[in-house]
Symmetry: D2
Subunit: 370 residues, 4 copies
């Protein structure tokens, strides 16, 4: 187990390195009958593709998805959907400056510790290119969710100190700026801040927020496989994410019960909450309100400044990283967050189907005319 | 799947409700030959037992662990270890005021949504008593880790606004105050703050921090089952936890690469880091530094104030919760955090054993004289 | 992982040794709303209880099931159902003759090889008492299936050379003889045969057959988790089972395609098969015909004859086993086969619920009025 | 979950249809440092490749393996190994005669029942080509085992009535005939028998036997994940396999304890057995003797004779299958059996590594100098 398989019922198995032949995903457990084309996946991949703005790496990759199996006459067949994305712009450049040394903030040292050696070319499996496979899987999961009335939208809440308070959100702006920020003015400030970072050969962190709407209440398991716990793992498994919070999150630690509790009420006969400090979960299950969570993303570790580090043998070296790197990881990670959330929610939706005898009986009755 | 089984190789299966016959855990995958007594488990259980101070519920429970299987002549046999803790003080009081209504901040509504009905007595399975089983499992996991040189210590970093900065930590104080805070003065301030909360019929949130030392580098899987991601799920699966961060966590979002990167160096021939912004993981694997993470805990939802809510049928009701409740969840959750961390780390240690051919060959050679 | 957890969605976690405090099972994933009492489980346990006839061990065990959790007001709540069966007649006799020696046909040597030592009292975890937990789980699974119109019936097809050909089956006789044989005459012959075995201080093997009716077509996954493959594992996991076959099984190896293929036809508008050589599965999925499989059970290894074996240190010893042992395992294993089949089928039924988008959409629409 | 992922620690995820773009496998959990080339995999694939003799389909497929990831400088890196085999000879012929009708003995009807429709071209995912991915995975597993001193060899024991008794085995002959039979004379008889079958437009079943040598004692888990139970599932998951037996298997049902028990003895200080009726397992764990099991394979369902069946709508049709089909599945399945056995054994070897505290402590001590 190298831990490259995720999910219980809707399972993705991902593979691939930055400078190998490509990356890919096998989706096991996609229901039959979902209309699916390469275009559906491409739309998602294009959101994380490099080269979209001057704030991303200049590596040229079309990141074209090829569906190899599991789709027949435009629909999924219920069998595994294999998606292949060939690498194109693997520069056959000289890696001698990083093959022996441990870049700060990267997984070079831990890979060597775990496996004894590593594919050092472009970071190998620890490269951001690994997330392509997640996004391909997420595109499929999101399509399933949409057909059930569930929408997931992630966006950039903060880049370094440039943070957008909730009351300034304008969701229509998300796709109008290179950072996927829901506020045009803040996006401009972020651009200025990043330009300064780049000039200083430095990088910035940030915060991604994600909202899931249309979730019926009761999704998520009650003890270990809680909806929020499962989302936490999904999101922390994305490289560079260092924190996760749902609803008021860390602010709840400062709060009081009388303020933090969300009162229930009824509207048009439906039970709902008057506030959403909880972020849409109670006891680990969705409560019918929007599920709202945030991910803290660390600054890109690859910076153009000279850095002190050591070689494999422990001897000190001075390192200047020359590759092509994003000054901030956040914007391209937005769709990765959305993808991991979608995969996680689909899985919990599926496992919820057998939670009640009355539903089971009705399901089997309707389906098989028992 | 109700999600009450956790782990891949070291697996715990938990069961039990607040007012049922008891709670328990079955541990599948405990290695043979571990010296284990009921006392080992009791020491852990006593740390979360109610009635330790005036800041906890007055429910009287001895929470005595009985080992039912898997131990022979004082040692684990390799077969499942079943631990039973009988409930004692289930008050047969009248639950009519909560059986039909949805308490704010509790899982009543989501349980009903998921399952159609619920065991409302004392919160049923969503009660804090569910965590007893985790702690029993954690005691065993912690004992395994200790024999391998790995120690886990959790403590209270903040209760409401009373937060202890790192430079004021005095680990010797942890067991000297009812809050498990590593600073005597702050513990007093916390007591004052909580007394105020209680007088105002209110409750407080807080932050738990946990440190894992002695971890070899390379533990954790590289993509989905990262050490930090796995810990995040483990911790968020504890009721009332709303956030998780590792190392600098959310502060990293505000930082820059030049500040956030931890430089490598060598000491006595061993590679290590000069700082630990990362909190002990790189690329999801332990990096040899202490693993440091924090959990945000929301205020106890059960408060003595009158609250507005609705009944099952949506009709508005005024609710006064009369049970016995902690004004803050944090202190009793400290050992739960430690337990979940221990179980998670054992599991990843085990799965790491087959990561390399040279280790495998040597292991089989040594073991079986092949 | 000691491999004591079984299933993906309907999961049983079993524990307990022959001469420990008891045995038990935790069922995780039982749907909410199933009427369930201890009596439901007891009926199943009584079918494997010792002391039912002169052909079983004389160990006295009431094998009384206590439900510890997961049931409220007579119905399952969706949370784990924990069932405890205390051991009663653990004779505190002298085990010195087997604690150091390896009984032929038993797991003494392999337990020592795997774990370094073993709980030798009564075979510890490798005792037939381990199956009590399976039967308790099976009783619950069977009740779920019955409510969906699926029935499972196992019976003894052969004891030693006394085999009942299909054309002589009289299902009404199954519960009229101590062997659960569907033919009164053959049951008498079996009694005679076993009496001879017992007089010769020997034991007999036999064959159990199991029929599942009411299965809708399409249950079972298409590649690794085939219905027949899953049943094979379930049945072979029962101690003493040495073979599994479905439909014509090994006889199919001697057959030809023209004879072995089952022709399809239609009856009252429903597609069905004219014969059932396949035993109810095609491509690993149920085909709507009865699922019919058989298990080969080896003779009880504990015989009263003197046997040659060795001690831990390899020195030869002469062994006479004195315990209380069944001359044939088959009759008491019938309900174990039925139980493992029930658990396996429930699990595959549940995972089948998310196989199709049209079912999913209808399910979520109906359930949540999306 | 379509059940196309197999294993717990050494996991294979397979995909692909007969007439899609190709088939493939992703191996997650292959240890780092295993020398691996495409040639290693090709050797295995070539053993199941069509067109090796006149007794196989005439479909032309080179079945060339391309390793897409997880290997660097000739060695596995510990990350997923993705292997792609492109389909070549997908004849774009007319499928109108099978797209609507249900071929006897095939999975057409069950696929439609489960998923609502199917990729009917060449059987889609239920084609024998699905096993290519298993063999690619098996080649890697076998290479791991070989480096630990464990060898797996499967061969044809019977084709229809032509059965080779154990005393006539000549293992050197296995690769000298198109059937992988360990006896030259019987191979000739099998050829004659099959020629007759083909002339009669019919097909034959058969039996595959597999022997695993070099297994240390104690491999396999003690309850559900027994070695024999796990092998049974692995083997029954191969299409067309209808039965599994280990050691004396079904013959043990006819035997007596005094005959079936294998006496222990000691040779050169090592404990071993004087006979092997058990087939190398006791209590579900390897006992140090060779593991010997058999698989019953049904006759190829695709025969050239006219067959009666029905269409989707239940109307009767007369079917003549025109494709390219093997008159017997057995010879090409031999390497599939070997592969599934190898994958299963690797997985259980890995999970066995954390079975004992003394091994764990020594392992971590040696590895990390704790």
């Amino acid at each position: 187990m190298s831990g490259s398989i995720y999910g219980k019922l809707f399972q993705i198995s991902t593979w691939g390195e930055s400078h190998g032949k490509g990356v890919g995903v096998v989706i096991d457990g996609c229901p039959a009958g979902l209309p699916l084309s390469e275009e559906d996946i491409q739309v998602f991949l294009d959101r994380r593709k490099p080269g979209q703005s001057r704030f991303t790496t200049h590596r040229k990759e079309s990141d074209s998805a090829e569906i190899l199996s599991g789709v027949f006459e435009g629909k999924t067949t219920g069998t595994p959907v294999s998606v292949l994305i060939r690498n194109q712009d693997q520069r056959s450049r000289d890696y001698s400056n990083i093959m022996d040394c441990y870049r700060p903030g990267h997984a070079d040292y831990t890979f060597d510790s775990k496996y004894g050696f590593r594919d050092y070319r472009g970071g190998g499996r620890s490269s951001g290119r690994e997330t392509i496979a997640r996004v391909a899987g997420g595109a499929v999961a999101a399509k399933i969710l949409r057909s059930l009335g569930i929408e997931i939208q992630a966006y950039t809440k903060a880049i370094g100190p440039v943070l957008i308070p909730e009351e300034q959100y304008d969701y229509d702006e998300i796709f109008n700026n290179p950072f996927y920020m829901p506020n045009a003015l803040r996006a401009k400030e972020a651009a200025d801040y990043l330009t300064d970072c780049m000039e200083a050969k430095d990088s910035s962190g940030g915060i991604i927020e994600c909202v899931i709407t249309g979730m019926p209440a009761g999704i998520g398991e009650t003890v270990f496989d809680k909806l929020d716990a499962s989302l936490a793992k999904a999101i922390l498994s994305i490289g560079a994410v260092k924190g996760f919070e749902i609803g008021d999150g860390f602010a709840a630690a400062l709060s009081k019960g009388s303020l933090n509790n969300d009162a229930f009420t009824a509207k048009d006969g439906n039970i709902c909450k008057l506030s959403n400090h909880a972020g849409g979960t109670l006891g680990g299950m969705s409560d019918g309100s929007p599920v709202v969570f945030r991910a803290a993303v660390k600054p890109t570790p690859s910076i153009a400044q000279e850095q002190k580090t050591v070689n494999k043998d422990g001897s000190p070296v001075s390192l200047v990283i020359q590759g092509r790197h994003d000054p901030v990881i956040v914007p391209r990670a937005v769709v990765v967050v959305e993808s991991m959330a979608a995969i996680t929610v689909v899985d919990l939706l599926f496992s919820n189907m057998c939670a009640r005898m009355d539903f089971l009986e009705r399901f089997y009755c309707n389906t098989f005319n028992l």
